[in-house]
């Protein structure tokens, strides 16, 4: 019989405490990238000269690459946590620490994928549209 005070998973628990937040890191990067792109475009179009638009587009491009790199890094970590290759079980529907751990990895991985697509979408206008007009 195990006791509630047993802290065998105390270390793991600390990692997981971050994990519920971690599944939102991907979308958070999307949100930051979105707000920064929109804010920069609004500022440049309102205050700067027409020539600054090129600088804006390059800036958004660099920001996009940075955001995508970060999301990829998160996705790789989440993929490892999901651990699909060692444990090819998709549902993770048991009330165990292991399933909870892998589930959070799975969710974080999927959210990284959607965030990656979202960032690419948001960057497209800067790629395709050359002026504020």
């Amino acid at each position: 019989m195990s006791d509630i005070r047993d802290q065998e998973d105390a270390h793991e628990f600390r990692v997981e405490a971050l994990s519920l937040w971690r599944i939102t890191f991907g979308p958070l990067i999307w949100a930051l990238h979105f707000v920064a792109s929109y804010g920069a475009a609004a500022l440049v179009c309102a205050k700067a000269s027409a020539g600054a638009v090129e600088a804006l587009r390059i800036g958004i491009g660099v920001g996009t690459l940075l955001a995508l790199a970060l999301i990829l890094w998160l996705a790789v970590r989440a993929w490892r946590q999901w651990d699909l290759r060692r444990d090819p079980e998709w549902e993770n529907d048991k009330g165990t620490s292991e399933d909870r751990h892998q589930f959070l990895g799975h969710a974080a991985f999927l959210l990284s994928v959607i965030s990656f697509i979202g960032v690419v979408y948001v960057a497209l206008p800067a790629l395709l549209i050359g002026s504020c007009a």
């Binding site: 628990f13 799975h106 969710a107 497209l124």
Partner: protein
């Protein structure tokens, strides 16, 4: 944080073993527990019934009130359809037509769609979680009474021909220049309800995070709880910008501060931004909880676990985020830069991906399961069909050039009704059929249900499908009539006929919902064969929620844990009794739902109703520009809330530990992050900070949008006073932290001294902030006006912080707050962490930004 006397923690065996669960509970023990619980959870009778705060009662009132408001708003729509049936009708005049469409939209959104989510969640979330009640029952009751008062006030204005008439989004300058009191009713009445919505969101988030049954880790909690978390979070970030907008708008209406007046530097576009930063997430705020109902019904209908649980979590969280990147697609014709429009167009297309994924997950579940076509499933099927159609026109509208083409035509009306009927109305009705046995212990009629479905489904399509065409042919929204030569007459006539078919369907549904069902006898406990905990409910009804709080190890415990219900009924699990006749529920850890402590929850009270009435007064009197009674009401509302907190929350317990069942002993008091109050504060402050950020956004928005911000040669705030405000604000924060630390170490005198000095520092900060802008005239230009608005915002929050410090000081003096039992002080310190940030940001905007910007 060193504590002289640390609080005890949980002790005893956990998780329970099979032998422990197999041991029978003696008959006498079972009877004693049931008797005690019945006494503790007794619903007040007679005229005291209105004092009930139990989630089952408040949830029922809340849902029925929202339904009533929806029916009224529906009747308004019928009247408009009659007016539009033929060209040149005179059934409604232009002014009344304006009031009706404004109120139809406002009521459907603010008085039906969002409150309905909260109502249903308050009603069923605790049951999904096997919890006894929500963590703050009196807060739900308070929210309900605010909603009722505010809703009657707003809708009642129509009877006096004084309703708002500028459209549900109240665009300035039309709404700011409106001579009547309509816009004030809208702004103040709905702000009041928004506050109640945020209260419910806080309650639901804390409920889903901290009130799950032992063992229900995040990977096995019902999908509904995931959706509640996401939607609660969205409410926290979506409603505050609107509240900030309302704040600026009402300052303009009442005191002529020119936030939206271009002749004095203002900009009506700011309102559009603030409104739609709320308004678009709002669409998903009503859609996600409804689709959550589908996520509960589909597995039951398919008699198998949902396919792709993680994918649905992804879809809920992903939609929650992406839906904040869409707001400008309501503003494509306002002349923003092309590139900015492109960002929002892209995000609008991207949100389709997660939205689509959940629909595919449902279809997949239905395909691999053995589907029984029940009434709830029929409504879900109708919902999916209609929603997909609405989603497709949404994809079209996300494309900027097409959007320009159909802007402000009936195409938009058709699109938004397809998304809202498919995404909200149909799933909610499905939920009513599905959960009806749980709410009322009766079943609704199969035959009437089929009638209602086919009437509403066909009526809906007859009404709204032609509107796509009406819109493409050029009929603008919000016109009260049209000439015969337009050629839209026949389409409008079809729409009107359809509207009456919808109404007939709702009449059938309503009759079936409310007719007495005495002849039905006792129904089966789990009539649909569902796998989730709500169908472990007691028949006949018991007010205690769960007889004992189970240990959960599966997503579908009623399917996978065979003896679960039997053991719950016997009181084999946790909290099977109530020795002190106190209402309690079990609080668990966020990720793994390990039992943490036993939380006392509050019982029936008049004080919540009183508090709501006074809060109502504080919002309603200013509508008529009567300020003294409003201030008195506000003061009484504060007194009521403080009385209720003082008498019934975080009181030092008689016994430190409680035998919680199965050998587990749990503490009866928690402080800091362990306690639900701390979580409530933390989540509330996220919303509050968002509103503050929206006002600050306003400042910088003016700077980008207007060349004359700040105007040439404008007077600026007095630097010295700004610096004093920042320093005194930080000092008040530091003293509060010092009070917490010294109190925890047992140095009570020092803690009290800090709590005497802290409000003085806070007061000094407020006075200094006022002195900094005192000489500026807020009616002259938007620049001084926004500085004044920031100052007012800061001072109001400082005042709240001072009250909290005083509350803790009184607690320390009168023995409510001790070095050991210091939950209040920890919550107040958390408030002050946010307060310090707000003081510094306000000081930076007041003192530094003018220097950078000019």
């Amino acid at each position: 944080m060193t504590r002289v006397h640390p609080l005890p923690t949980a002790e005893g065996p956990y998780p329970p073993t099979e032998e422990m669960l197999n041991a029978p509970v003696p008959e006498a023990e079972q009877e004693r527990g049931a008797k005690e619980l019945r006494a503790a959870w007794k619903t007040p009778e007679g005229w005291r019934y209105v004092t009930a705060v139990n989630n089952s009662e408040v949830g029922k009132w809340y849902s029925l009130t929202a339904l009533a408001f929806m029916l009224i708003a529906g009747l308004l729509a019928l009247a408009m359809r009659v007016q539009l049936a033929f060209p040149g009708m005179t059934f409604l005049d232009a002014d009344r037509f304006n009031q009706f469409f404004t109120m139809h939209g406002s009521a459907m959104m603010f008085l039906f769609a969002v409150p309905m989510f909260e109502a249903i969640s308050i009603l069923i979330l605790p049951a999904f979680l096997g919890a006894r009640d929500m963590p703050f029952p009196r807060l739900s009751a308070y929210g309900y009474w605010c909603f009722l008062i505010g809703g009657i006030f707003v809708l009642g204005s129509l009877l006096f021909d004084a309703g708002p008439k500028a459209g549900w989004f109240m665009y300035p300058p039309l709404a700011t220049k409106d001579e009547g009191i309509g816009p004030d009713i809208w702004l103040l009445g709905l702000s009041f309800i928004e506050v109640a919505s945020i209260a419910a969101a806080v309650e639901l988030i804390v409920g889903a995070l901290k009130c799950r049954p032992p063992g229900m880790r995040v990977n096995i909690m019902p999908l509904y709880a995931w959706y509640v978390l996401v939607v609660g979070g969205m409410i926290l970030f979506a409603f505050p910008p609107l509240i900030a907008g309302d704040f600026l708008f009402e300052l303009e209406r009442s005191f002529d501060w020119p936030f939206f007046d271009p002749t004095r530097g203002g900009d009506p576009i700011l309102w559009q931004h603030l409104f739609w930063i709320f308004g678009h997430p709002e669409v998903y705020i009503v859609f996600l909880p409804s689709i959550a109902i589908a996520a509960m019904i589909v597995p039951t209908v398919a008699q198998r676990p949902i396919v792709g649980y993680s994918w649905i979590v992804l879809s809920a969280v992903g939609t929650g985020f992406l839906s904040f990147g869409l707001w400008v697609h309501h503003m494509f014709t306002t002349g923003l830069p092309q590139m900015s429009l492109g960002f929002f167009s892209a995000a609008s297309e991207a949100v389709v991906i997660p939205t689509g994924i959940q629909i595919f997950a449902f279809v997949a579940t239905l395909m691999v399961g053995r589907v029984k076509l029940t009434l709830p499933m029929l409504w879900i099927a109708g919902a999916l069909a209609i929603f997909v159609a609405g989603g497709l026109t949404g994809v079209m509208l996300a494309i900027v050039p097409f959007n320009w083409q159909v802007h402000d035509t009936y195409f938009i009306v058709a699109h938004l009704h397809y998304t809202l009927f498919g995404g909200m109305v149909f799933p909610v009705i499905a939920g009513v059929y599905y959960f009806y046995p749980f709410f009322t212990k009766k079943l609704m009629s199969e035959k009437l249900g089929l009638w209602a479905f086919w009437l509403i489904f066909s009526g809906f399509n007859i009404t709204f499908l032609p509107m796509h065409l009406t819109g493409l042919m050029g009929m603008p929204r919000r016109v009260f009539t049209y000439p015969e030569s337009s050629g839209w007459g026949w389409l409008n006539l079809i729409s009107t006929l359809g509207a009456f078919i919808i109404a007939a369907g709702f009449a059938v549904f309503l009759y079936d919902l409310l007719r007495p069902k005495k002849a039905q006898g006792q129904i089966a406990r789990n009539p649909w064969g569902a796998g989730t905990l709500e169908f472990s409910h007691d028949i006949p009804e018991e007010a205690w929620g769960a007889r004992s709080v189970p240990h959960i190890i599966s997503r579908y415990p009623l399917w996978d844990q065979p003896k679960l219900v039997e053991r719950m009924d016997a009181g084999r699990y946790y909290l099977p009794d109530a020795p002190d006749h106190q209402r309690e529920t079990i609080v668990t850890s966020v990720i793994d739902a390990k039992p943490v402590h036993v939380q006392r929850v509050t019982g029936p009270a008049w004080i919540t109703i009183l508090a709501a009435i006074f809060t109502g007064g504080a919002f309603i009197f200013p509508t008529f520009h009567i300020y003294t009674p409003a201030i008195i009401c506000g003061a009484f509302a504060i007194v009521c809330v403080m009385y209720w907190l003082w008498t019934s929350t975080a009181r030092p317990p008689k016994e430190e530990m409680r035998e919680a069942g199965l050998g587990l002993r749990l503490p009866t008091y928690a402080s800091g992050p362990q306690s639900v109050g701390w979580w409530g504060m933390w989540i509330t402050m996220l919303g509050d900070v968002t509103a503050f950020a929206s006002v600050v956004f306003g400042f910088f928005f003016y700077w980008t949008a207007r060349a004359d911000f700040p105007p040439e040669g404008a007077a600026h705030p007095v630097g010295l006073w700004v610096a004093v405000a920042a320093l005194a604000g930080v000092a008040a924060w530091a003293l509060t932290v010092a009070a917490r630390e010294t109190n925890a170490r047992g140095q009570v005198a020092l803690a009290r001294l800090s709590l005497v000095l802290a409000p003085l520092a806070a007061g000094a900060a407020g006075v200094a902030a006022w002195a900094a802008v005192r000489d500026l005239d807020p009616t002259s230009h938007v620049y001084p006006a926004i500085l004044w608005a920031l100052m007012v915002w800061l001072v109001v929050h400082l005042a709240a912080g001072v009250l909290m410090q005083g509350y803790c000081l009184a607690g320390s003096v009168f023995g409510k707050l001790t070095p050991r039992y210091d939950a209040d002080l920890r919550n107040v310190t958390l408030y002050w962490h946010f307060m310090a940030v707000k003081a510094l940001v306000t000081a930076a905007v007041l003192g530094l930004a003018p220097g950078w910007l000019t």
